[in-house]
């Protein structure tokens, strides 16, 4: 305990000394969060300063080993660091798929050479990653994917189409699932492979969503060549790697349920709904929903904590990520719906006059949130996984 409080002092001092003033209090501004990369400019130059200052100390990826650009912190120390960053309402120095998904996956399943090639570039924000899993005919039934990879000497030649590739238009590399054997049970013929997006034959088209934004793309592969040493894990053993990565993805998506740096629901309700003579939210139905949301978030946060304590104590990670993905996203969506109810007609703005920037942002985040229960495996798929792998219910 005393070790942690010493570490907290150290972390606080470092954050105070290195966080750019401009970013303080901007945690809820999506433009302040940096994923790095060769193509995507930093929207605020301060985000770059913050990332590089952190990367110099290994703190952009605090739990990774030092040899790969991390600081080798324990989970508890990293949590303390993030609390100290959160205390000033700062964005984390680095975010994105490299940090949250392919990085942890390479640490688990990559060879030393693969880690050495890719991890330091993620840590310094030099390379941005995207994910090539879903296909037009392989959504919830992911294992039926058809994009093919055929060996040709020291290369694989890839043909096919991926969809819902988040940020493909801004990414430098893609980690993807390809079919390397069409003649076996569908899960057994899949390989996990890394491809440079600058390779000839890669084409990206953004998809416009109901929120007006285009965070996702269609990505086409025409005779794209990638070296065989970019295969992660075994050839035809990609499903195992894919599931491990989905675990990281679900935990990361599910994390949104905790509320974190988001606007405080009770404050928002007091502002828009008003307060009664006793200082309470002046609408019993809204007050009840706010309370329920806050209590659910508290219970969910405790459960994530308990799970983490279990890992620390040596418990094996199981299919809990499905529980977190399901509950975290459903909770976040309920929160977004509630924020609409709280703002009422002021939540209807699309652009232009008559609406505050936060209100316009609200419309978009609500629409964006509707994907939470679809991406990374739908809520229904998560419930299926729990029923099968945790409860042992028959197929």
């Amino acid at each position: 305990m005393s070790d942690l409080s010493a570490f907290r002092d150290e972390a606080r001092t470092w954050v105070e000394a290195n966080a750019p003033d401009f970013l303080r209090g901007r945690a809820s501004d999506p433009n302040a969060w940096a994923s790095g990369g060769r193509k995507a400019p930093f929207i605020y130059p301060e985000s770059r300063d913050w990332l590089l200052a952190a990367a110099d100390r290994g703190l952009s990826v605090p739990t990774w080993p030092e040899q790969y650009g991390g600081a080798g912190l324990s989970r508890d120390e990293a949590a303390v660091l993030h609390e100290e960053i959160g205390r000033l309402a700062l964005p984390l120095p680095l975010t994105g798929f490299g940090y949250s998904m392919i990085g942890p996956t390479l640490l688990d399943h990559g060879t030393q050479a693969q880690r050495a090639e890719h991890l330091p570039k993620i840590a310094r924000g030099e390379i941005r990653w995207c994910q090539g899993y879903s296909e037009p005919n392989a959504g919830s039934d992911l294992a039926s994917l058809a994009t093919s990879a055929v060996r040709d000497g020291d290369f694989y030649v890839i043909n096919g189409q991926k969809i819902w590739t988040s940020g493909a238009d801004q990414a430098d590399w893609i980690f993807m699932l390809v079919r390397t054997n069409p003649d076996v049970k569908k899960q057994r013929g899949i390989t996990f492979i890394l491809v440079d997006m600058a390779s000839p034959g890669v084409e990206v088209r953004p998809i416009r969503l109901i929120s007006g934004a285009s965070p996702f793309c269609e990505t086409f592969f025409h005779d794209v060549r990638t070296p065989v040493h970019q295969v992660i894990g075994e050839v035809n053993g990609g499903w195992t790697v894919a599931k491990a990565l989905l675990g990281h993805e679900r935990t990361s998506i599910g994390g949104m349920g905790r509320g974190g740096a988001r606007a405080s629901l009770p404050d928002l309700a007091r502002d828009y709904v008003g307060v009664d003579e006793m200082g309470r939210i002046d609408d019993p139905a809204i007050r009840e929903r706010v309370t329920q949301c806050e209590m659910d978030a508290m219970s969910y946060g405790l459960t994530i904590r308990r799970h983490g304590d279990g890992l620390e104590a040596g418990h094996k990670p199981g299919p809990e990520s499905s529980m977190f993905k399901y509950y975290g996203t459903e909770l976040n969506m309920r929160r977004e719906e509630l924020m609409l109810s709280i703002r009422g007609p002021q939540a209807l703005g699309w652009e232009g006059e008559g609406f505050e920037p936060a209100e316009l942002n609200q419309t978009r985040t609500w629409l964006r949130s509707r994907a939470n229960s679809i991406e990374g495996g739908t809520s229904e798929i998560q419930l299926n996984i729990i029923a099968k792998r945790v409860l042992g219910l028959p197929d």
Binding site: T291, M298, T303
Partner: protein, 378 residues
């Protein structure tokens, strides 16, 4: 907050508790006691064995003759009792009444009541609820009038858990000088003018009406300060609430596991009903609710043990969550069992009946959401 993972000694305690409950017949014992119309509603020999194991002294400091363990351990006992529907009045007599006495009582009162309570020789019962109380601790009409050096108490308490056969009662009353406060009294069951009448509740547990007509007690019967009862009472209620949450966790886990087993063994239309997605998804949602409930109970128990600033929030969060989850799980358990679940012969009904008593103990989910909102200033 301490780790939300059980330590090795805690795991051992949980296992021992489970073994004790099943050794004495598990749910069958509750059924047998009910069918026999047993006056006590529980088994004195099990109570004695719990005393031998030291469990009746779990929450008390070693200086009072207890084991000096905390709520983190107490909820392991109540969870095991919940799983097997063990009807011994552990929460009411030990956690609540004993805890209140240890907290608010003076040296003489503790010396008089705690050792026999811990040894299993004498039992205390908290007598708080009145017909009009609902969940308000201060909704009390029982009155205590100063009478010479002592007091004269009159009123009627209902649903006094463990009241039948209790040796003493903790009674909350109003005094003239304390219209805004409550005074707690320790009253021996043998006192003149005190009458105990058995009540019959849906869960078949020991429950009584305690009528007091001009019951005379000495000045030394006051627990703590005259008019100052509400505060220690609130603390005791919070501890008892979390102990109850442990029992709820046991009930929901057991009824859920029995239901999953049924889904894996019952066939209709030529297939196991556990293959139906309509049931799978509901089962998975129940699993999540139970996992969340477990986290809240462990956190609330640790908050009480550590005296955290957010203890009351954690307690209300746990009770609200467990109440909602337990009602969901027991109702779904019955539905998924179908017609057989409606029969008295099947155990699910016993779980469902006990669940309602636990839901309403110390405030239901709505009550605790309101309390949470009030504490957070919503």
């Amino acid at each position: 907050m301490a780790s939300l993972v059980l330590t090795a000694p805690q795991n051992l305690l949980a296992r021992t508790a489970a073994e004790l409950v099943s050794k004495h017949g598990g749910v069958d014992r509750q059924r047998r006691l009910r069918d026999e119309g047993a006056e006590l509603g529980f088994s004195p020999e099990v109570w004695a064995e719990m005393a031998d194991l030291g469990w009746l002294g779990i929450p008390f400091a070693e200086e009072h003759g207890g084991l000096g363990m905390g709520m983190a351990e107490t909820v392991l006992i109540t969870e095991a009792m919940g799983r097997g529907l063990a009807p011994e009045p552990f929460v009411s007599a030990v956690v609540f009444a004993g805890g209140l006495l240890a907290d608010a009582g003076d040296a003489e009162q503790r010396a008089a009541w705690l050792p026999p309570l811990i040894d299993g020789e004498e039992r205390l019962a908290p007598a708080l609820l009145e017909a009009g109380s609902r969940y308000g601790l201060d909704r009390v009409e029982t009155r205590a009038q100063a009478n010479g050096d002592g007091w004269s108490i009159s009123g009627e308490k209902v649903q006094v858990v463990g009241g039948v056969g209790a040796d003493g009662f903790l009674i909350a009353a109003r005094t003239e000088a304390s219209d805004d406060g409550l005074t707690l009294f320790l009253v021996p069951a043998a006192a003149d003018g005190l009458e105990v009448v058995a009540q019959h509740r849906v869960d078949s547990r020991n429950s009584a009406i305690v009528r007091l007509s001009d019951v005379q007690v000495a000045a030394g019967a006051v627990l703590g300060d005259v008019g100052g009862g509400l505060e220690p009472l609130g603390r005791a209620v919070d501890r008892a609430t979390v102990a109850i949450c442990g029992e709820m966790l046991g009930l929901m886990t057991e009824s859920f596991e029995r239901t999953i087993e049924y889904l894996r063994s019952r066939s209709q239309f030529g297939v196991l009903i556990g293959t139906f997605q309509a049931l799978k998804h509901r089962a998975a949602k129940m699993f999540i609710e139970i996992e969340l409930s477990r986290s809240t109970v462990m956190a609330a128990a640790r908050a009480l043990d550590e005296g955290s600033d957010d203890t009351e929030l954690q307690v209300s969060n746990a009770k609200a969550r467990c109440s909602d989850a337990l009602i969901l799980v027991t109702n779904e358990a019955l539905q998924m069992h179908g017609g057989i679940g409606m029969t008295d012969e099947h155990d699910i009904g016993l779980f469902m009946k006990r669940a309602r008593a636990l839901e309403f103990a110390f405030g239901d989910a709505a009550f605790h959401r309101q309390r949470f909102a009030r504490l957070r200033g919503f």
